[in-house]
Every structure is written in C-alpha cells, then in structure tokens.
C-alpha cells in the first residue's frame, strides 16, 4: 500500500517541512510495503524530480495557473483526485499553515479520519497509531483509524528530514483533476513579508522568548540581538502579548503557538502552566530569571538565576565570540 505525501511549495520552492514528511513516509512505506508518492499543487514545476533524493518514487503534479498562490478549495480537489488515483494507505501533510488548512478539507472531501499535529507515528500489527499532543502538550493522545485511509499532519521539526540520496530522481507525471476556479472562492490577493522574513516560531531551530521580566517592549531589542547570534526567532509569553509589547504571532503557549525547537531560551518568563504547555517539548531549555523559585526552572535543563539585563548581553557577547 502506497503512502501519499502532499508536497508543499511556495514561491517555486519545495518547503523543508515536506522533506520531513517524505522521510516519515519512507518509514511507513517500509511497514506497509508500498512506494512513496508525492502530490504537488503549483503553477509551474518547482523541480519535483529532485524529490527522489528525499525518498519519493513518483510525484503527481497538479498544475493550475491559480496555484501560484495557495487555494484551499483547489488544492483539496487536486489532493482528493490524487487519493482516488493512488489509493494510498496513509496521506501525510506537513502541519504548516498550509497543511493545517488543507488536510481537514481533504478529510471532509474523501470522508476519512484525520489526526493533526502528530509527533510520532508507529505501525502496530498493521495498524497506524498516531501520537498527538493535546491541551497544548499537557497530555499526549494516541489515535488509530478505523477506515481504510488515514490522513495525518506532522508537527514541523518533530520528524527529521531524510538523508539525501544523491542522484535519485522521482518520476513526475501530470495529475488530472477537476476544479471550477470560477466558483466563489477565497483568493490570495497578496502575500506580505513572506520572502526573507523571519523564520516562524513553529519551524524555528532556536527560540529566544521574553516574559514580563523584560519590563517593556523597548528591551526586546536585546533579545533580538541574542536571537541574531543564535540564528533564533523571538517569542513571547502571553502577558507580554496581552500588554501589547509584541504581536500575537509571537505568543508561545496554550493560546499561542506550541513549539519544539532544539533550543528554547526563556528570559524573564516565570513559567505559567499555559506557557510551559506550549514549549516543554523543546529539546533543550534554558531559563534566565531573577526568582530562583520560578516554575520555569522546573522544566529548564540549564538555569541562570540573576538580572536578565546583565545576563543576556553577557550571553550574546559570549556566543558572538564562538563564531
């Protein structure tokens, strides 16, 4: 039984989260004994043959001029057509902003179960079991699929991208699908700040986050500088976002983003339960806080008790020296 992977492209480039999905698809394909097939929606081929290096044997290319930008309804029609053509056992999507929008539409179209934001997949006695954090990571839910087809979105950064197999190429073929682009639909009029912009928190390798201890929005420049030398993105606690010091997109926690970077540096964050829920699956957590009793130290691998206004500049300087 084959494994189908939705291959996400933006601005003519396949996104790295789709390589993570192809890597996981290869592991599932070994268990279910079938090939890995990709499906990509685009206005022009973003170099799909090269996905052979990431494990795809075949890629179905759904071409439409309207697919220069994301179109939920159109993409869903194409992926549903790919499912009808390939009859896969599992369809994997990246749990990106696109995948989170698209996968539920496809699930409704093909009437199949969907598990979103999964962090582990195992095949147990021929049955797929998906693990997904719920309550923003306070608990893990394990689910299986009673139907013949299972849809899954994968949390970015939870699965490693596969080792490239240089020189391997995927067979690319056109996918036939029907979609009425003249029907009323949501159209992307413009994308602002998408290229060369900061890496989103959900896909960041490292995050430097500030809390109420930062004392004001002007001090976040200090965190931006630390983030700069670490190659990190800047996040914030709910208190900081609610105070208007940072934008809503920066919030980490149960009513913000759930993140799993390699390195999470919590600066002046006490560690309310709803914040801890959103970041405690990070690989390595560093906490800098003046209160030695702050709950953040209970989840931190390394802590420094002290004045963040002294510690952060010293840390930035020390990391600069490494380079």
């Amino acid at each position: 039984m084959s494994i189908l992977v939705f291959v996400e492209q933006r601005d003519g480039r396949v996104r790295s989260v789709s390589r993570e999905a192809l890597g996981q698809a290869t592991a599932l394909a070994a268990a279910f004994g079938g090939p890995v097939v990709g499906v990509c929606c685009a206005a022009a081929d973003p170099g799909l043959a090269a996905l052979g290096e990431a494990g795809a044997e075949q890629v179905l290319f759904a071409q439409h001029e309207a697919f220069a930008s994301y179109d939920g309804a159109g993409y869903a029609a194409a992926v549903a057509a790919a499912i009808a053509a390939v009859k896969p056992k599992v369809v994997l999507f990246a749990g990106s902003s696109m995948g989170r929008d698209l996968a539920p539409r496809v699930a409704a179209k093909v009437d199949a179960g969907l598990a979103t934001d999964c962090t582990a997949l195992v095949v147990d006695g021929g049955k797929l079991v998906a693990t997904r954090p719920v309550y923003a990571g306070k608990a893990l839910q394990k689910v299986s699929f009673p139907g013949a087809l299972a849809l899954v979105t994968l949390r970015p950064k939870a699965f490693a991208a596969p080792e490239a197999q240089p020189g391997k190429s995927a067979a690319v073929s056109a996918l036939a699908f029907t979609w009425d682009a003249s029907a009323p639909r949501a159209k992307v009029a413009a994308v602002v700040g998408a290229s060369g912009g900061k890496v989103d928190l959900t896909e960041a390798e490292a995050i430097v986050a500030g809390g109420r201890g930062m004392k004001g929005p002007e001090h976040f420049a200090m965190l931006e500088e630390l983030a700069g030398v670490l190659g990190a993105s800047v996040g914030a606690s709910r208190a900081v976002v609610d105070a208007g010091w940072r934008g809503h997109g920066d919030q980490v926690g149960q009513t913000g983003k759930t993140v799993s970077p390699k390195l999470y540096v919590a600066v002046g964050i006490s560690g309310a339960i709803q914040h801890l829920a959103g970041m405690s699956s990070s690989r390595c957590i560093v906490a800098i806080n003046k209160d030695p009793e702050a709950p953040i130290f209970k989840v931190a691998d390394y802590g420094i008790v002290g004045d963040l206004f002294e510690v952060v500049p010293a840390l930035t300087a020390a990391i600069k020296q490494l380079h």
């Binding site: 179960g113 923003a136 608990a139 413009a190 989103d200 130290f297 390394y302």
Partner: protein, 250 residues
C-alpha cells in the same frame, strides 16, 4: 444578515490534566469549563459585523453535554441572539463527525458568515472549520488575524510562515479566528439579564461512526531535572560550555 458562530466548551487553560479511568479521555473531576478562548474572537467578530450593519441575527451553536448551556448562555450575554444546543454526551468526539452534525444544523439557517475559533484549546485539532467549509460548499479562510467587510466581500489577513496572506473572500463564507482578531467584550449586566430570556433550542443528535478512534491519553514523560548553572553574568561561560559540549545545541 444571519451569522452563525460555532462554539466549544473546553477546560480552562489553567487545568492540570488527569487521565480518566478509561485511559483515553480527560478526568473531568474539578475541571472549570469555559468557552474555547479562540471562540471568543469568533463571537466578537460576528457581533461587530451585526452592529456595523445595524441589523441581523447571530445564532450560536454548540455540540456537547448538558454543561455546554452555560457557555451558550455566556455568548448570549455577550450579545448573540439565540442558541442551538446539539446534545451529545460523547467524550472527545472526532472532528469530522462533529463537522457533519454542525453542517446539518447550519445548512438550514443559510448564513452569510460562519465563524469558529482557529482551534479548540483542548484537542488542538483545528479541523472543524475547514471541514465545515467543504461540507457546506462555502469558501473559507482559516486563522484570520484581521477582518473587514466591504459589501459582500470580506478582506481577511492570515499569518503564514514568515509573513501574511491578504485574502479576499466573497460571502457566504467560513472564517476561523486567531487571537488578536479583535478584543472580545465582557458580558454587561444588561446583557446577562437579557440572555436569561433568550432561547436555547435543544436537539438530540447522533454522531454516527467515528473516523478516528481514541487509543490512549497519556501524560508526557516528565523532563529530567535540570540544574542551576549559577548566578548572574558570571554563570554565562559555564552555560555556553554546557550548551556547546553537553547539549550540543549551539
């Protein structure tokens, strides 16, 4: 114009999760139930559209056990006109089954806008909104961070990785709301009094077969205890060494 808001009752975000005896769902003992925080933005979004238009009706719908009526009543106190309670006691029902039940109730209302939160803060599934759009055959924008109605077209922005999509969507449409879309109002005393007279229509529903089966609910493995590296800026060299040599993350 008629608008529908789908709301879900969830445990308060301060809840400490305990697993129920069935090993698959949350132990509800001692849990404080509230409106899903993202749904508050949905209710507020609908109320603002109605107030700008100067007319219209906002219908709130929730699926769940008897307890959800408190949350429905709360949205009526915020200013919604009437409520429909789809009664079903299934613990943690699967999203597609819920979307089908909601779609059946919504279809007959023929709304111009259907509002939901971008996800529910309990199961974090983020599925019902886009599923509804397919089932109802309506265009949809998920995770809306801003919303402006111009005639019969809504201009909506949503955050994507590293930027924002600016989207134009003709009504009728489904919108799911991100934090920051607006500032949800608190019910006024007058609103709370008025809500007591508003109708909550109860309908018993059958969810049908599940598309996803719960196998287990588990607490995540506890993180191994970390260590305090030291105090103040003097501890920085040891921290950098540990991050580089022990954790190998820089």
């Amino acid at each position: 114009m008629l608008q529908v808001v789908c709301i879900k009752q969830v445990p308060d975000t301060e809840t400490r999760v305990k697993v129920a005896g069935d090993g698959r769902t949350l132990d509800p003992t001692g849990v404080t139930w509230v409106m899903n925080p993202f749904d508050e933005f949905a209710v507020e979004g609908a109320l603002q559209v109605k107030e700008k238009a100067g007319a219209g009706e906002v219908v709130v719908i929730s699926l769940g056990g008897a307890g959800v009526q408190t949350t429905l009543r709360n949205s009526l106190a915020m200013g919604a006109d009437r409520a429909i309670h789809l009664k079903n006691d299934t613990a943690a029902p699967d999203s597609l089954a819920v979307a089908k039940a909601l779609a059946a109730a919504i279809r007959e209302l023929n709304p111009q806008l259907v509002w939901l939160g971008k996800s529910a803060s309990d199961d974090d599934a983020a599925q019902v909104g886009p599923m509804l759009s397919e089932l109802l055959g309506l265009p949809c924008v998920t995770v809306a961070a801003s919303f402006a109605l111009e005639g019969t077209v809504a201009k909506v922005e949503r955050e994507i990785e590293g930027g924002r999509e600016q989207i134009e969507v003709p009504l009728p449409a489904v919108i799911t709301c991100d934090k920051g879309l607006n500032q949800p109002r608190y019910p006024s005393l007058k609103g709370i009094m008025a809500a007591k007279k508003k109708t909550i229509e109860e309908r018993a529903i059958d969810l049908g077969a599940a598309h996803v089966e719960l196998v287990a609910l588990e607490l995540p493995p506890a993180r191994a205890a970390g260590r305090i590296v030291g105090e103040g800026a003097a501890a920085v060299p040891e921290l950098v060494r540990a991050l580089r040599e022990d954790a190998k993350v820089i």
